[in-house]
């Protein structure tokens, strides 16, 4: 059954109200009515009765339709406002419509009232839909603008970081030629080494940009994560990094319920964090270590990656997750690793916490929600 239409009548003459109701009953409308004839009652009824339609007489002893319309506007009521009145001049009627009334009906022609009500309701509904569509468009537009700005920034930073190694190769090629023209060839092998390094760096940066788009943009299927296997595999994969063999590694996975998330993303996170711990080990310390500890509960997993490496001094810590940020001379990386880590964690709905002290070491804690619980 159709919802009952709540009609608020602003009418001081009870007989007129009766006539209006009778006219309405002849139509197919399901409705209830409430009748008021003072300002206070009207204001109160707007809030308590929440009318779907207001039918208003023009002049009542203590109130009139113009004032009612004003209140209506102030309260931003969306319901149609229809004037139902005795004979009025055309000028008055037009004036009412200007003030915001949706229609006017003469009491001598109440037969038109039901169709006027449904027309006005349809009109309001359309207005509402248009307004919400406009609002939605506005929001989407803002989002697109923001995305576009991010893309611009990304393109600038990326192109800079891709061009740098390329331009160094260009410079080296020119220098090689110049020196060969001058009959100097003792440095050529050194230059070839440099070119090779630059090209490898360029390739790494490109690989990371691909990782970024894979991790950040793709939808991934959920897998149950076997942390022992994943971490052992990660450490195994890292064993060719400079210094890896000198570093004591430990994995501790505490018992807990099954944990689900995208396996590729989790692998990517572990690879980045563990390789950082290995790359930035502190050779001046007698023993270096990287410990990974995993705590699971039904809701989430907490992973702590801890090392006693060179650490990050406080002043760089705010920027450590920025795109292309490098905090140390020792970094030959692209400055993308932790940026992508952060993006990935955001997408997984988790959080990352950094605890680091220069020369002491770094501990990173990831908290990632269980995707299936």
């Amino acid at each position: 059954m159709e919802k009952e239409l709540k009609i608020l009548m602003l009418e001081d003459v009870e007989d007129d109200a009766g006539l209006i109701e009778r006219a309405l009953r002849k139509s197919a409308l399901h409705f209830i009515t409430k009748r008021v004839d003072t300002r206070d009652e009207f204001v109160d009824a707007i809030d308590s009765f929440q009318p779907d339609v207001v039918l208003s007489d023009h002049a009542m002893p203590q109130f009139n339709s113009s004032e009612a319309l004003k209140i209506f506007k102030e309260k931003l009521v969306m319901a149609p406002f229809i004037l139902v009145t005795g004979a009025v001049s055309e000028e008055f009627a037009v004036n009412c419509l200007h003030q915001g009334a949706d229609d006017y009906i003469l009491k001598s022609n109440l037969a038109r009232l039901p169709s006027a009500i449904s027309n006005a309701l349809n009109k309001k509904q359309a207005e509402k839909e248009r307004a919400s569509a406009t609002q939605e468009l506005r929001v989407q537009n803002e989002e697109l603008k923001k995305l576009n700005q991010e893309l611009d920034r990304f393109v600038y930073s990326t192109s800079h970081n891709l061009r740098a190694p390329l331009l160094s190769v260009l410079g080296l090629v020119r220098l090689c030629r110049k020196e060969m023209e001058n009959g100097m060839d003792e440095s050529l092998l050194e230059y070839f080494d440099m070119m090779e390094k630059s090209i490898t760096k360029l390739d790494n940066t490109l690989q990371q940009i691909i990782d970024y788009s894979k991790n950040a943009r793709l939808e991934e299927e959920l897998d149950e994560i076997n942390f022992e296997d994943l971490l052992k595999g990660t450490f195994d994969y890292m064993k060719f990094i400079n210094g890896a063999t000198k570093i004591e590694q430990s994995i501790k996975v505490h018992d807990g319920p099954s944990f689900y998330c995208g396996k590729m993303r989790m692998g990517f996170l572990m690879q980045n964090l563990i390789s950082n711990s290995i790359k930035y080990y502190d050779a001046s310390k007698e023993k270096s270590f990287v410990n990974v500890e995993v705590f699971k509960n039904t809701d989430e997993v907490k992973i702590v990656v801890e090392d006693n490496g060179i650490g990050i001094s406080k002043k760089y810590q705010d920027h450590i997750f920025d795109m292309f940020y490098r905090a140390t001379e020792r970094s030959d990386g692209s400055g993308l690793g932790l940026f992508i880590v952060k993006e990935t964690i955001d997408i997984m709905g988790g959080s990352i916490q950094l605890n680091s002290e220069k020369d002491k070491g770094t501990s990173i804690t990831l908290t990632i929600p269980n995707a299936r619980r």
Binding site: Y156, L167, G171, K178, E179
Partner: protein, 130 residues
């Protein structure tokens, strides 16, 4: 043209080496120093004023560097209260094409902005500016 004292600041050692070798080939500089970031460059500058070295007349400065970037260096350098500072010409050398970087450099009063890698012609012009 007199030879200049030049300070090369870039975290990418390849560019420092390239510029150094080219300057040597062209015989444009009588003294060349290198720094790997703004902080190292600033330390070197302070050395000059402690009498340890001669003042660099031209600084070829990269923007994107760890520890202290090019902009950080310029700001710190401008705050230094030392004599003959106006004799030092800072030239930005970068692969960045970000208009924001350009604007920021301009705002800091740096008007010479060159693209990597510097050609022989670039270096000739750069060292002849002041």
């Amino acid at each position: 043209m007199t030879k200049k004292s030049v300070l090369l600041v870039d975290d990418d050692q390849v560019f420092n080496l390239l510029n150094q070798k080219t300057l040597q080939l062209l015989d444009l500089a009588d003294e060349i120093h290198t720094a790997r970031n703004g902080k190292e460059a600033l330390d070197l500058i302070n050395d000059y004023y402690r009498g340890a070295r001669t003042i660099p007349e031209v600084i070829l400065l990269d923007l994107n560097m760890p520890i202290m970037d090019g902009f950080g260096f310029i700001e710190a350098f401008q705050k230094l209260e030392v004599p003959n500072k106006e004799r030092v010409l800072i030239i930005i050398v970068t692969s960045s094409r970000d208009p924001k970087d350009l604007k920021r450099a301009k705002d800091l009063g740096i008007t010479v902005y060159l693209s990597k890698p510097l050609t022989e012609q670039d270096l000739r012009v750069a060292l002849n500016f002041n």
